[in-house]
Each structure stands twice: as structure tokens, then as C-alpha cells.
Amino acid sequence: MAGHSDSSSSEKKSNEAMNDVPVFSAENMQNNMKVIYYSRTFMSIIGGVIAGILGFTGFMGFVFYFLVMTITSIGLIARAKFSVHSYVDSWNRIILDGFMGGLMSFVLFWTFAYDIVHIF
């Protein structure tokens, strides 16, 4: 997962010190969300190319997409050293955000790679 560590290297702590009154630095959180978005886009493009080369068709391809997204989520959580609440404000953000956004890029690169390798 070399792509992760590069793009996630600028994640910053957004929740400082207080535990009963959570305070978030909005700018840091926005930066974190951006990093998450970039990671997902990148992984969906790579996943698309891999799916095309391996020759997945139909349903298997979408299953592979979800697999790639799950791996991305796990990678991001591991990068945040499992203390998710100090980087984003809720679990949903880091797991589900941008899930569907990478789908179109995935399909494009999947079609592209599949055609180049298998049809032509």
C-alpha cells in the first residue's frame, strides 16, 4: 500500500486534548477528508486496471470494487493508528465517505484495461 503512506502523510490531528467537549479544527478535518478522497480515487483507478487485466466480468467486477474499497478503508484506519476519533469526527466518515464516488473511475479503467487486454 505504498500509495497510502504517500498521500496520507499529511493527516493532522483535528481533535485536541478535550474529551468531554470535543473541539475540531475545521481546517485540519477538511484536509483529512481530502486525503481520504484522494486515496480512494487512486485506489479505485488502480483497482479498475487490475480488474480489467485479470478479466473480471459482470458481478465479480463489482465485488472486486467493494473489496478494494474495504482494503482502502482498512488501510486508512491503520494509518490513523486506530484512534479514529482524533482525526475525523465519526466512524462513518473514514469508512463510507467517497465509497460511490470512485465507482465511475473504476468502471472506466476497468473497461479500458479489459478491452485492451482481452478483446483487442
Partner: protein, 246 residues
Amino acid sequence: MAEDLVLDTAIRDWVLIPLSVVMVLIGILRYFVSKLMRSSQVPDPKIVKEGQVIVRARNLRAAANFIPPKSFLSRRVYFSNEENGLLFVPKGQTQNAQAQMFSDPNMAMDMMKKNLSMIIPQTLTFAWVNFFFSGFVAAKIPFPLTQRFRSMLQNGIDLSTVDVSYVSSRSWYFLNLFGLRGLFSLILGEENATDDTQRMMQMSGFGFDPSKSLGAEKDGLDIVQHEWALPKFEHRAEAVLKKLIR
């Protein structure tokens, strides 16, 4: 029964790749052109003032629990006082700000320019694709679709027995249009002009900024229940220090 068509390598070389490359390049070109064409607009001081007042009120609302009750209340009165509070706008003025914003020629020109810079390259590319690349099977999409999509995806191909997965170049164009958004956001950084939907949301959002959001901020401020959190911090500091000593 899916017959596996074998397509000419020339199609791959001269259709798929050039189309994708052209779309990427046009996207990059559009980004730079829109950057160059962004006219420097002198912001209206009244609007800037109102914007800053809103920011102050929002900060007060967010950090209300960190200041003692009396100072919070005095600040709140300053903002939402009926006579000269900053957030209180009499009914007559609210309509005025909206109308002014829409009839302002500079703003309208800006919006038009942004719209055009979005629509023209798309239209031109679409016409180009239709003219040059129609009438043959261009690609095979790896997943099956129902028969209803046939007319949409296979418009140049007049055989009805061909699998719906084999699509014409028009659908390759649309696939590129949607799929390259992600790629552009990676290449061009955050501020890129290629996403239509984001644009439209931005445009619909900023016309009503001053008048309505003042009222919204005032309501929000009135709702806040003040609970001074600082006394608890002493207990918390004590707990943390105790843990450290052990």
C-alpha cells in the same frame, strides 16, 4: 449465448486511446483557461462586512461553552438585539439584497462565462465524436446490461443481435466524461473546474447569502444553551495529573 467478437487492433489504437487522451487534454486546457479568465472582482464592502459578522456569530456559537455565562449573554445581546443588533435585519431590506445581487452585471457575466467554458468543450467534443467515430463497435463493457440500454449505448450500430455489451464510441465518450472526474481531481489538485454538479451547487448557494443567513444565524444563536465547561477542566486536569504520578 454471447459470441465473442474479435475487434480490430486499429480500433484500439485510433479510437479508444485518442479519445481518452483528447478528453484529458481538453480538461487540463479548460482548467488553465478558466484560471486565466477569472476576472478580479472588487468585493462589495457591505457584503464583506455582513459575511464577517456571520463568521463572528458562528464562532460565538461554536465556542459558547468556553466563556463565562455573563460574557456569553452580553455578546449574544449585542448580536440579536432588536434595535441595533448586528444580525437583526428589518423585513424591507432582505428583499433588496437579493435583487441587487441578481441584477449586478458583473456577477451575471461571471456566471455566464463559467457556464460557457463548461458547455462549449463538451458540445464540440461530442459533435467531433459523432462525426468521426460513429457506425462501428468501439468497446466491450465488462458487465452485462439489459436490453433497454441498447438504444442508448449502441446508437450507431444497426445490428440487433449484437450483445448489449458491445458499445459504440458515443458511450465510450460518456464513460470517459464521468470517469475522468476522479483523475482530474488527482492531477489538477482540489480547485478544478471539471465537475458540473459541484458548480451548480455553488452557484445556487451564493446568491442568497447575506439576507437569509443573517436570520438563520440569529435563530441559531438564540437557541444555544450555555453550559460553562471550564470548571470541569480542573477536575480533568486533576485526573490526568494523578494518572501521571502513578
